[in-house]
Symmetry: C2
Subunit: 335 residues, 2 copies
């Protein structure tokens, strides 16, 4: 019997558009042996995620991109096949960044490695899915950023995907009206089976009208996995003070022009962008005026204005704001 080898996918070239087999070199090496304190894991399952595509591109992102010549980064589950750690034995299961390879030698106590309990009551793949990073993404993204309240309308894009399918189920558990957007009738049937209140096939004619009809009270939360036209369509139907959980922008990941736009930055840097109109704070106006007056009386805040004389000047004077002709507050002195 041939000696087992460790097959490793090394990133050879940065993909342009879709990923090609030839962007990688499949290199074979001997199976590693564990140094003291290490174990050798044999990969059982590898998780494929949209973010893998980002890691292949040399742009600023939330982790360093994979370097050319390195083993492709990937999350997975590995089983201990050799142990030089007194605390871990053959058969133990770990999840972590096993990479696109058969074997990896790791220090199991290092950060990033999570030992799975033995005798799992669910199939192993669920530990990378609904009970793994995918499930956590859905759970914390929806609960912490979306903050769903019973009766609100939640729209999920890429709803039949790993994260989306869990988001929708959790939103239902919160008592929300849940609408999923997915491509094709089979995926939409799957969403209804999962308990989504409505499923919109974005490949079908008239999907925007169908989305509107499925959200008669507007949209309170957009759990966004896609970006582009789908995101813009959902956003345009959102209610006052709605929340967009920007979790993914898969529509752009195969583009080599990225990151092009502000939404890429919002995602990678986890920015919070919030629309503000003073109307919402008028009930607290007195509190603001008190503080501002106090600062002004203490000489810590200055008022400055540009005053134009005469009501008849109003229309043309308004353009000063757009031409940058005023400093401070622009006013018309009427009388």
């Amino acid at each position: 019997m041939a000696e087992p080898t460790n097959r490793r996918f090394l990133l050879r070239t940065r993909p342009e558009g879709r990923v090609k087999r030839s962007d990688f070199e499949l290199s074979e090496q001997p199976v590693p042996t564990p140094a003291p304190g290490e174990v050798v894991l044999r990969t059982r399952y590898l998780s494929l995620d949209p973010t893998n595509r980002i890691w292949m591109t040399d742009v600023e992102q939330y982790m360093p991109p994979v370097a050319i010549g390195e083993v492709m980064r990937g999350l997975g589950i590995g089983e201990v096949v050799a142990s030089a750690s007194p605390d871990h034995k053959v058969g133990d299961l770990f999840s972590g960044l096993v990479g696109w390879q058969d074997y990896i030698a790791v220090v199991p106590k290092a950060p990033g490695w999570i030992q799975l309990p033995s005798g799992l009551p669910v199939p192993l793949p669920a530990m990378l899915g609904a009970l793994g990073m995918t499930g956590l993404t859905a759970y914390f993204g929806l609960m912490e950023l979306g903050k769903p309240r019973a009766g609100e309308t939640v729209v999920v894009s890429a709803a039949a995907g790993a994260v989306g399918s869990v988001v929708g189920q959790i939103a239902k558990l919160q008592g929300c009206h849940v609408v999923g957007i997915a491509g094709g009738p089979e995926k939409c049937a799957f969403l209804r089976e999962l308990g989504f209140d409505a499923a919109i096939d974005y490949k079908a004619e008239g999907w925007k009208a169908a989305l509107a009809a499925a959200c008669p009270r507007g949209i309170d939360i957009d759990f966004e996995n896609v970006g582009g036209d789908i995101m813009n369509t959902v956003m345009a139907r959102m209610n006052l003070h709605g929340r967009v959980v920007l979790c993914g922008l898969i529509s752009g990941y195969n583009s080599d022009q990225r990151p092009t736009g502000p939404f890429d930055t919002i995602l990678m840097k986890r920015l919070r962008v919030e629309g503000f109109i003073i109307l919402d704070y008028l009930p607290r106006a007195m509190e603001g005026v008190m503080q501002l007056s106090q600062w002004m009386m203490a000489g810590k805040l200055r008022h400055h204005d540009t005053i134009v004389d005469g009501l008849e000047q109003a229309p043309e004077a308004l353009n000063m704001l757009f031409d940058g002709k005023n400093t401070g507050k622009l006013l018309i002195k009427v009388s």
Copy 2:
């Protein structure tokens, strides 16, 4: 002596691009007399604000647009010149939506009218500026949405404008490093005089590099009044978990294509858009796994996956995510 008349600017046509005098009809009417409970205000000062331009355009916005033939809406300060209200006398001052006209009859107790205290220790224009709606916009926008912490870097666009000049001063009072963006050396000098740590002239060559140099620790808060290229440039330099207070998008208000983009929607609907990457929540992973497991064990949450067999399939299988070929979690079974 001629009888005084009430000059009123009625919106005649919706402006295209810049506002023209001919977009309005200046109609003269007799000065109104107060009905019982009313007072007649004579406009003293009229506030000109970028949002006035939005009100002239027939698009979905945070208030109804001004109708054709209506008096142009505008905030201002009026002085009582005739009273049929027992509680108000000639000389009392009110701020509210006086409109682009000399006189208006109002019920001073109706919502939206604020009586100014008599014997103001500041000039009247300040009550429309730093101590008025402008100041409140700066104060609540920065404090409630921006949540500045001492030592953080705050960038303000349209910094020499009414709101921006107050935002910068308040940010300094919070102990922040404050950088203003404005057009031209005079405005930049004005910002430095107000105490801004740096002022960037966006009309000068190399302003993007100057902005970077003025923000050596990145940008934590963008108080955004402008949008477009200025916003994108600021956002690209933001730190992890930065906050964008989207208060205005003046660069687009003269465009008749608006509202074009998602940022218009974010502003008008006061949406909160937040980037999310699960890394930030890994310290709380156990909490999430516990909840998800509980739901799964109770039959309330389903895991679903698409499994591809063989490590060698990894590169091509990744494309399934982008082609929509998977339902639920996509995995490679390696061994």
